[in-house]
Structures are given as structure tokens and as C-alpha cells.
């Protein structure tokens, strides 16, 4: 579903992503690991078409994201890093807006909103304005937006960030469940999540892939593997 070839993104002289290639098939949940600033978010922003790549290409469901962005974007559900949402809207208003932009209307829209609300446990805050929500609910509202059109590809940038342990557990299970039928990429720096939800992990550091494989292939304990492969940001380049 997702095919990435030699992807590069440069900001001035700095190469945030430096020649990344990988594939994700339907039924896979790929954990994207790496220290802060290693290029996880930048890569995800290129997959979703927010950033234009400096080099290389991204194909989603066979559509080149740069050449036919609309076709590719239709297949993708995206949770951005900060879980941004229009804070002046109610949860329901926001989800309906997302559904309408995804081309849903009438009964199909109502059904899609109801389904997303149920998946993300939002029914108790449905009529609340988003700026009055706690961080966990706000995060789940944005996740519900990503699931609204039942996409084939899910790109989730730190989906468990800022959640309490119960919520983390729920979201991990949800990702695992969704991963049976979809291609899912999610980024995290919590290593237990790799074991809990991923079929495969990719570790990146300074814009390059340094290791990939199933959690078992990468070796244990995972945090030692992670520390060995990546360089802390306190060390000068």
C-alpha cells in the first residue's frame, strides 16, 4: 500500500530525511522509532503530502503523492503530531466537517461519525467544544478524524503521546485491531509499544534507517538495541 523510494527532505543545508526506502503492505503495523529530531515526523508529512519531498518518491495505493495528491490523500487517514483540531468547534461539528471534506454526506456521514465516535470512546463529549477537552480526549478526537472515512492507510504521528496508561492501552489495542485490514505506520519513542502493537519496526536516526525487522529480529532488550543504534542528541554530530 505504501511504497517509499529513496526519500529525501532537506531544510537548507540540513538533511532531515536522507534516503529512506521502505514498503508497508495491508495487514502490517509498522512502528517508526527514533530519537527526537531523527526525521520521523518529516517522513510522515511527506507520506501524507504536507511536505513536498526534495528527492525520491512516495506512492500510496499506487498513486504518487506528488503527482496525484488527491487520489493518494483519499486513501490516507492522518493524525498529525500535535493532534491539531479546530478548537472553536464541538467534537461532533469537527468530525462532521472532516467527513464532509472526505466526500461523505447524509446518512453515510452520520454513520461514519457514529462509528468513529464509538471507536474512540467520544460519546460523552460529543457536544463539547474542543478547547474544553482534556488532552486525552483532544487527542482521541483528532484520531477519530483520521478514522472517519475508514481509510486503507493510517499514518499516526505519536498516537499515544500525552495519554494516561489506560488510554495508551486502549489506543494500542485499537491500532492492533485496525492493522489487521489496513496498512498502518505509527511513530513513537515508547519502546513497549513496539512489542504491544507492531508487526514490524523501523528504527531511524538522523534521517536514515539504521535497523528494521520484527521486534524479535531486532533483538532484546529493545531499549538496549535502540541505544546502541542511535546517537543521543546530547552528542555533537
Amino acid at each position: 500500500m505504501i511504497q517509499i523510494d529513496n526519500l529525501v527532505k532537506a531544510f537548507g543545508a540540513k538533511r532531515a530525511v536522507d534516503g529512506i526506502s521502505f514498503k508497508v503492505e495491508r495487514g502490517e503495523v509498522v512502528g517508526f522509532l527514533g530519537p527526537n529530531g531523527s526525521g520521523k515526523s518529516t517522513t510522515m508529512r511527506m507520506i501524507t503530502g504536507y511536505y513536498a519531498p526534495t528527492g525520491g518518491r512516495v506512492r500510496v495505493g499506487g498513486h504518487d503523492v506528488t503527482e496525484s495528491p488527491l487520489e493518494a490523500k483519499r486513501l490516507i487517514g492522518y493524525l498529525p503530531e500535535n493532534a491539531a483540531a479546530y478548537t472553536d468547534m464541538t467534537v461532533r461539528g469537527f468530525l462532521e466537517f472532516a467527513a464532509e471534506l472526505r466526500g461523505l454526506s447524509g446518512a453515510a456521514k452520520r454513520k461514519a461519525v457514529a462509528r468513529s465516535v464509538e471507536l474512540c470512546f467520544l460519546s460523552s463529549v460529543l457536544h463539547q467544544s474542543i478547547d474544553t477537552l482534556s488532552k486525552g480526549y483532544k487527542h482521541r478526537t483528532c484520531l477519530a478524524q483520521a478514522l472517519i472515512h475508514d481509510p486503507e492507510v493510517l499514518i499516526l504521528d505519536e498516537p499515544t503521546d500525552g495519554l494516561d496508561p489506560n488510554q495508551k492501552h486502549e489506543v494500542r489495542n485499537l491500532i492492533k485491531e485496525l492493522g489487521r485490514t489496513k496498512a498502518v505506520v505509527f511513530s513513537t519513542h515508547i519502546l513497549e509499544e513496539v512489542d504491544a502493537a507492531c508487526t514490524r519496526a523501523i528504527i531511524i536516526d538522523r534521517g536514515r534507517i539504521v535497523a528494521q525487522g520484527t521486534p524479535d529480529e531486532l533483538g532484546r532488550p529493545l531499549d538496549e538495541v535502540f541505544r546502541r543504534l542511535t546517537i543521543p542528541d546530547t552528542v555533537k554530530a
Binding site: 504536507y50 488527491l70 490523500k73 492522518y78 491539531a84 479546530y86 472553536d88 471534506l101 478524524q145
Partner: protein, 241 residues
């Protein structure tokens, strides 16, 4: 088309869902009332026309229109929702038009609420209502031109105050290029052709045509060009993510 409508609907809802809409409407109506009847000497003029009303619009809009438009893109950048919007299956143009049309419609609503002025003029005398219609049309285009400039400055920054100030300065330039005290200053050293060229860039020159009751295709073309150019510049500014 559908996506443009969805974006416009959300944007308009966001005006009326916050105090912005009501504060703007009240201030706009108070100020137009004050300028028309007090400063504009509507009654003392002894003529049944809305000259005293429309004459102030280029100056009134100078502050009020950027205040309406400054949040359009700057707020999306600040809140990070720009990322959400731009990864939806819509083209940037649909978003740009949707937002522009919503804020233009909002100012149109404010303008429509000034109808008591028209009623007053019609009760007291028999004004040329065709001329008044042309005046309203000109005023709406004037607001559209300012608004498109504000869209452009708003797309360039994540800071609404910066967007506001840049937009006021740009719109001020659009006024001053054809403002009599300024063109009079240039008479001493510039050729009339040069002064006319500079004045042709001014909203005032083209706005005045409408106030005389003339809907000239050149004036329409001017306003549409300003709007077209500014929205194009908006799309360029939005490429910077």
C-alpha cells in the same frame, strides 16, 4: 465546488461561534453611523444621496477588514490545523476560495445591515436608488480587495498581529496612490501621465466610479485583478510549510 462550500461553511460558523462576529458588526454599524450622520453631515448636506455614507468606506475598511481577515491563515498555522487541512483530499485553491468567500460574505452581511441608511434617505427625499446600488457594489468590491490582501499577509505568518499590520500598510498604499493630497504632492515633479498611472493602482480611483453610479468594466476588472493577484500570492505563501 463542494469542498469550497464545506470550508466556507466552517469558516463562517467560526465567525459566528466567537465574539469576533458580534464585536465587528456592532463596531462597524456604530462607526458607519457616526461617520455618516455626524462627521459626514448627512442631514446638513441637504441632498438625498449616500455620498456621506460611502465616502468613508475606504478608511473605515482600512482597519476593520484586516481585523476580519487576519486570522484566516495565521490561525491555521499557529494551531497546526493547516497540516490537517492540507492533508485532506482537497486542492489548496478550494481552501483559499472557501476561506475568502466566507469572510467576504461576512462583510457582505455587515454591509447589508446598514440598510437603515438607505431607508432614511428614501424617507427624507427621493435618492437615485440605482446609484445607491452601484455604491454598495463598489463598497463590496473594495472590501473584497482589502480582504484578499489580508488573506495574502495572513498566509505569510503565524502571527495574527503581524498579518494585521502588514495588511493595513498594504491597503493604505492602495488608498494613498490615488488620494488627492498625495497626488497633489506629485504634481510638482511628475508628469500627469505618471500620476495617472500611479493613481490607477489606487482603490479610491476605482471606488469613486461606483459612487458616481457608474458600473464600469474597467473598475470591475481592477478589483477582480487585485483579488486574483492577492489570492494567487496567498497560494504561493501557503507553499511555504
Amino acid at each position: 465546488m463542494r469542498n469550497t462550500f464545506v470550508i466556507a461553511k466552517r469558516e463562517l460558523g467560526s465567525y459566528f461561534g466567537s465574539p469576533v462576529a458580534y464585536v465587528f458588526l456592532v463596531i462597524f454599524l456604530l462607526l458607519t453611523g457616526f461617520f455618516t450622520f455626524t462627521a459626514g453631515q448627512f442631514f446638513e448636506r441637504g441632498e438625498a444621496s449616500l455620498g456621506a455614507f460611502f465616502g468613508w468606506h475606504p478608511w473605515l475598511y482600512l482597519v476593520l477588514v484586516p481585523a476580519v481577515g487576519m486570522r484566516l491563515w495565521a490561525e491555521e498555522r499557529r494551531a497546526g490545523t493547516l497540516e490537517l487541512l492540507m492533508t485532506m483530499p482537497i486542492t489548496p485553491w478550494q481552501a483559499i476560495f472557501g476561506k475568502f468567500l466566507a469572510s467576504w460574505l461576512f462583510i457582505g452581511i455587515a454591509l447589508a445591515l446598514t440598510f437603515p441608511v438607505v431607508v432614511t434617505a428614501n424617507v427624507l427625499g427621493s435618492p437615485d436608488n440605482g446609484m445607491i446600488f452601484a455604491g454598495y457594489l463598489g463598497s463590496l468590491f473594495l472590501a473584497g480587495a482589502y480582504l484578499s490582501v489580508t488573506c495574502m499577509t495572513s498566509a505569510m505568518t503565524r502571527n495574527q498581529v503581524v498579518a494585521f499590520i502588514l495588511s493595513v500598510v498594504a491597503c493604505l498604499f492602495l488608498i494613498l496612490a490615488g488620494f488627492n493630497p498625495v497626488t497633489d504632492l506629485m504634481v510638482r515633479w511628475a508628469s500627469p501621465a505618471f500620476i495617472d498611472t500611479v493613481a490607477a493602482f489606487s482603490v479610491v480611483t476605482h471606488f469613486d466610479g461606483f459612487q458616481k453610479g457608474v458600473i464600469d468594466s474597467r473598475d470591475l476588472a481592477y478589483f477582480l485583478s487585485v483579488i486574483g493577484f492577492s489570492l494567487f500570492a496567498t497560494s504561493m505563501a501557503l507553499r511555504n510549510r
